[in-house]
Symmetry: C2
Subunit: 146 residues, 2 copies
């Protein structure tokens, strides 16, 4: 999905819920779009401060907007290893994560077989799946050499 489509999508959601469009909300979406993945609220906050020094933004707004986006199913949160949640857009192609416990690096992969199997499992439980996450935890190739 292009950024413009995504933004239109977000604007529609806001309008339909009687919420307002603001620069802050737009910049948060933009930060998530550009830095593809795994941002903490703190990181998003600083990215916006750095890029738009003129605009005022508070960390509370970042948290509030992320909750909004999560409720609207535009972002998902993930928490592994370190403390604090990290957020990423759902509109990027779905993928899962390999997390290295030594260097905290996060790698991505996509596997159709697993995707399909998840759908089958959700169906078995009569569960209405809105999202799913998977993490393979371990030691990456580089850290194994150390």
């Amino acid at each position: 999905m292009s950024y413009d489509e995504l933004l239109d999508n977000f604007k529609d959601i806001l309008k339909n819920s009687g919420l307002k469009q603001t620069k802050q909300r737009e910049y948060i979406l933009e930060a998530l779009y550009e830095n593809h993945h795994h941002l903490t609220p703190e990181e998003i906050y600083r990215l916006i401060q750095d890029r738009y020094p003129k605009i005022k933004i508070g960390i509370a707004t970042v948290y509030r907007t992320l909750s909004l986006l999560e409720d609207a199913n535009l972002v998902s949160s993930l928490s592994v290893a370190d403390q604090g949640k990290r957020y990423e857009l759902l509109s990027h192609e779905h993928h899962d994560h390999l997390v290295c416990t030594q260097c905290d690096k996060i790698m991505e992969f996509h596997d159709e077989l697993i995707e399909r199997q998840q759908e089958i499992i959700a169906k078995q439980f009569n569960f209405k799946m809105t999202n799913h996450t998977m993490q393979i935890i371990g030691v990456c190739q580089e850290c194994q050499k150390k």
Copy 2:
């Protein structure tokens, strides 16, 4: 694995690392064993206080012991939906989770196809997998009716 085997296992790990066996550490392991899954450090702390009113235990010890157990790969942590991590023993048979976003209920499932596929993926990335977690997020059967 029986509790006794698990405890012996833990004692060996402590001994081999030059660490000491304490009642507190044992009770934390016991709490995780008995209440099969998904405990927060706070819950573990209170369980032990309730069950062993005579013994002193501090929340810091719970955190310290959980880190120890996680390093030793005896427990894994999981964080979804609510804030804060939850811990569970790895020695219980491995399973993955269905998390309901409406009632926060966590259900479990086990799927061999997914397990095998995760191993294949780890191999492709030359990744030494020590653990893996998967969560299917959505709305459970009961909450769909509401």
